[in-house]
């Protein structure tokens, strides 16, 4: 019994020891829990409070309106030619995770695909590649009526939402395509590059032309609504976080009237034409054909059209004014002239006899032909009649080094610096270049070819236009540009005005300038450009016919050039320089001249050459050339009309 009770006491004692141990473990556990609670709430509380805010706040962007674009005749408060504007529209969106099942989502997508002509596979693909809580755009540019219908049958379209999304409208479709460009959804590469500047992945961005170059000014800044949302993205409350600030408007240097004149004149042709004011570098018109309709490019489900345009042999996306190079042909004779006169190797009065061909003496004699026998001609007549035999000999006399030097001085191997992206420089060969590429020295035959603008030379049309501008300006060239000023979105304020900007100055003697100008004027009065002689404004110009190999079996294997300016007499402040290039034209005079004719006729009709106040050269020049357009252009396009254009 004693044994029993002592064993009992021993067991009791063991139990007590173990219970004390238990209590100690429990105390430690509670202490650990308390410490962790303090750590979370008291030490890291602020950080977790931020995380909780991030969880419940969802910023819904309010898109900023993109700026409008006007032509050069813009006057504040008047009816203006709106080249690019915006049209209110809607995007149909959904949050895939809100659907109870994949099947439900599929049913809705099927229904919408039938009703709205949506490519369902594309959307299914998009959904499977993105966060299910993120909004997916089902269809862009949905009409208001459709939205009303969906809103009134919401039980049939659960979880289908919409958002404002204005759509860019290019009011003149193809006419300004190569100048304005178009916008598009920001792509991965662009997003990576521009993220730091505040670009968002859902935004539109200018893809080419003015839209790309001035994107930062046009786009404005998106605002946002701050929503308190629950885990299923249902909204509990919202407030405007930041109001959007609309993008700036642009006023172009382009005159709608001239642009449309050229556009109409070049209707079925391929090529490019430009008119610019040498005194400032303002581009009054710039057309490249063939072209495309930006409205089609920006519409959704456009992949097929874009593919078609991209694979088109005529390459409509190519801006032939700045992105394509051609042999300058006879227009280059003017540079040969400048080189000869500036180096004083010849005088304008020097004559050569032209029998219709020139034989280059050498190991084997080579005949270089002219299209006609011009008899004895001096420099003026050689320019006017485009006498190649004269320039063969003038070129040999001057030598290739100086011709190349002047071609380079005029910037024919450089970019013009025009304010749209994608420009390519022209190409001027050199002795070193030829040796490097062909392993041959420079032959006299090469000099002959170069003197008349054939051979290795390739220039952009805008490069030749800049050459004319240099002649008009006595050697000074201003940067060609397309935008006159940037205005606030309500047009009330000029944010920035673009002044002329000198890019190069070529010292030219009066003798040279007088000779070139006289030769070009003679060319219009009784030479190759005779078709323009009747115009009221005195025009000076030079034709060119570039021989090219016909790669694509075109009918004519010649490119037609015309460069020139007006007025040929009097002050040059109002002068307009012009370059026209027609691909595979019949001949210089026949294909390019009618375009030049229409340009100068229209310019004169609009009063571009009327004596203007001379004092206003320089910054204020911008405000001098505003005149009432002769033909009232289409102003704001009718809404349904613009809509009909979209597929």
């Amino acid at each position: 019994m004693l044994m029993q009770s002592s064993l009992r006491a021993k067991l009791q004692e063991a139990f007590r020891v173990r219970m004390y141990f238990y209590m100690a473990v429990a105390a430690v556990v509670f202490a650990v829990l308390l410490l962790q609670l303090m750590n979370l709430q008291l030490i890291q509380g602020k950080e977790y409070a931020v995380k909780a805010r991030i969880n419940m706040e969802s910023n819904i962007p309010i898109p900023a309106g993109r700026g409008d674009i006007y032509d050069r005749n813009f006057r504040e408060g008047e009816k203006n030619v709106v080249v690019v504007s915006n049209r209110p529209s809607f995007n149909l969106t959904t949050i895939p995770a809100n659907f109870k099942s994949k099947k439900k989502l599929n049913e809705i997508l099927d229904l919408l695909a039938r009703l709205l002509n949506i490519d369902k596979d594309e959307i299914v693909n998009e959904i499977s590649n993105s966060n299910p809580w993120e909004r997916v755009i089902l269809k862009e540019d949905v009409e208001f009526d459709t939205i009303v219908k969906i809103a009134s049958h919401q039980n049939r379209f659960p979880n289908i939402d919409w958002e404002d999304a204005s759509v860019r409208v290019y009011n003149f479709s193809e006419m300004f395509a190569h100048v304005i460009g178009y916008v598009g959804s920001i792509n991965r590469e662009e997003y990576r590059r521009l993220k730091s500047e505040g670009y968002k992945h859902y935004q539109k961005i200018g893809k080419s032309g003015i839209e790309k170059q001035y994107d930062r000014l046009l786009r404005g800044r998106d605002g946002y609504v701050r929503r308190i949302v629950d885990v299923r993205q249902r909204t509990e409350g919202e407030e405007v976080g930041q109001r959007p600030s609309a993008g700036n408007n642009l006023v172009l240097t382009i005159d709608y009237n001239i642009q449309s004149t050229i556009y109409e004149a070049m209707k079925d042709l391929k090529g490019a034409a430009i008119a610019l004011k040498p005194a400032t570098g303002e581009i009054i018109a710039l057309v490249s054909k063939p072209d495309f309709d930006p409205n089609v490019i920006i519409s959704k489900n456009n992949a097929r059209v874009i593919k078609q345009l991209q694979t088109d042999n005529d390459r409509p996306f190519l801006n032939r004014m700045i992105q394509s190079k051609y042999p300058p042909a006879s227009t280059f004779k003017l540079i040969t002239t400048v080189a000869a006169l500036e180096t004083e190797k010849a005088k304008p009065e020097k004559t050569y006899y032209c029998p219709g061909k020139y034989t280059l003496k050498g190991y084997i004699d080579h005949d270089f032909y002219d299209y006609d026998a011009h008899g004895t001609v001096d420099l003026y007549w050689a320019i006017a009649k485009s006498c190649s035999v004269y320039f063969y000999q003038l070129g040999l006399l001057t030598g290739p080094t100086d011709i190349i030097r002047y071609a380079e001085d005029f910037g024919l191997n450089q970019k013009s610096g025009i304010d749209i992206p994608g420009e390519v420089p022209g190409f001027v060969p050199s002795r070193q270049w030829k040796y490097k590429v062909f392993g041959q020295t420079w032959f006299d035959g090469d000099t002959l070819n170069m003197a008349i603008g054939q051979g290795f030379l390739h220039v952009t049309p805008i490069g030749m236009c800049n050459f004319v501008a240099a002649i008009v300006n006595n050697g000074v060239v201003y940067r060609p540009h397309l935008v006159r000023e940037i205005r606030s979105n309500d047009n009330s304020r000029v944010i920035k005005a673009f002044h002329r900007q000198k890019v190069r100055e070529i010292p030219l003697s009066p003798v040279t300038l007088q000779a070139v100008k006289k030769g070009m004027r003679l060319g219009v009065m009784s030479g190759t450009s005779g078709r323009l002689s009747y115009l009221k404004v005195p025009v000076a110009g030079k034709t060119g016919t570039a021989q090219t190999r016909s790669i694509r079996q075109e009918k004519f294997s010649q490119h037609a050039w015309w460069i020139g300016y007006a007025p040929a007499e009097g002050p040059t402040e109002n002068a307009v320089a012009c370059a026209v290039l027609i691909e595979y034209g019949i001949a210089g005079a026949a294909s390019a001249l009618p375009i030049a004719e229409r340009i100068f006729y229209k310019l004169n009709e609009l009063g571009y050459f009327d004596a203007a106040p001379l004092a206003q050269i320089g910054p204020k020049q911008n405000e001098t050339d505003i005149r009432k357009p002769a033909v009232q252009p289409r102003l704001q396009p009718k809404k349904d009309e613009a809509a009909n254009k979209l597929p």
Partner: protein, 439 residues
Amino acid sequence: MLFSKDGLSKIDYNLVIAIIVAVTIGILMIYSAGFDPIDKMNNGLYRKQILWFIFGFIFMVGMTVINYQALGDYSLHIYIVLVVLLIITTIFGTPVRNTRAWLNFGLFSIQPSEFMKLGLVIILAKYLEIRERDINRLRELVVPTLVTFVPVLVILQQPDFGTAIIFIPILLTMLFVGGADVSHLISIVLIAAIALVVPMILTYREWVGAEGSNFILDFFTDIRLLMIVSSVMLLITLVTFVLHFFSVKKFLRKIYVPGSILSLGLMASVIIQNLFRVYQKRRILVFLNPDLDPQGSGYNIIQSKIAIGSGGFFGKGFLKGSQSQLGFLPEKTSDFIFSVVAEEWGFIGGLILLGIFGFIILRGIQTAFDAKDKFGALLASGITTIFFFHVLVNIGMAVGIMPVTGLPLCFISYGGSNLLMSMISIGILLNIRARKFVY
């Protein structure tokens, strides 16, 4: 003597008040968590919880009236009834989120596995009382282990991993308190650890696509080789164990003790590796490391920590917790209700709740100390252990230091069965404490 009323005057009213405060906090939090601030509607779970509380209170009072020693007498009956109920539930139960843990009675449904916890504690208390003097022998551990593993295996079939796993620490704690040899308990834990570690490493390597191999890994990957090696080891162990009876050489013990641990652990690991499906093993891995499943339980932990941390010192206020109100916090009425308390009432709220649980556990231990008989002491410590592990696992999970399991927080979480079981347990505690001087 089944009923005796003379103990009623000695009821510990402090504990009753603590329970009433805890359940009230729970009901308020279930109200808050059930409120939808967008639809301005409450899902009404709090009303059910109030009903369960009333129901549970009656049971608690009832438990104080009967003589708790009668529970010991009927412990086997209670155990068998509960196991049968558990099996019926596992076969015929209403599946909720792929788990057959509930028996539906139309108006309400019960979760027998909750009551099983108490049932196990009662039968273990009774067994350990009977075998009090021999419990330090290894063979006496076989029955408690079997008694525990029957419900564990059934619950694993439901499958309700979190509930099943809680039985094991309850068993070990009760064996420890009941006087089992500590070295035996450590051996069991080691065997279990070996049994789990091998398949877990293999599953983990397979899951994350680990490259490379070496001799040891190849050995573990080859199940048959593993089986043969562990069988040989077991054979050697048995031989040395038999030799041990004829010779008292001490070094033999040094062979067969670690030998049996290793071989049994490895054999168990082979069984786990073969019996469990890949997704089940992955679930255990996620249980141990939630970061492996950032969309699932990893997400839950992150949201819970945000809820608790953003509560700060004073909390965001009743019905104002963004994490719970806007639904970022998952399972907010059950598993993560502590996070709701800590978010809306801040550190103060969390401290009060920890204080209440600390008090309950302290009272449980005191009751075990003061109990007039061994059964009462073991029963009280077992019940305390149930509460203790629920607090540890549930709050530990909410604050991010324990794996995610579906264990409720007693008295606070929504759930009738758990509340009822907890109230009954408290009734038993009150009973034991009230009768400490009654012989």
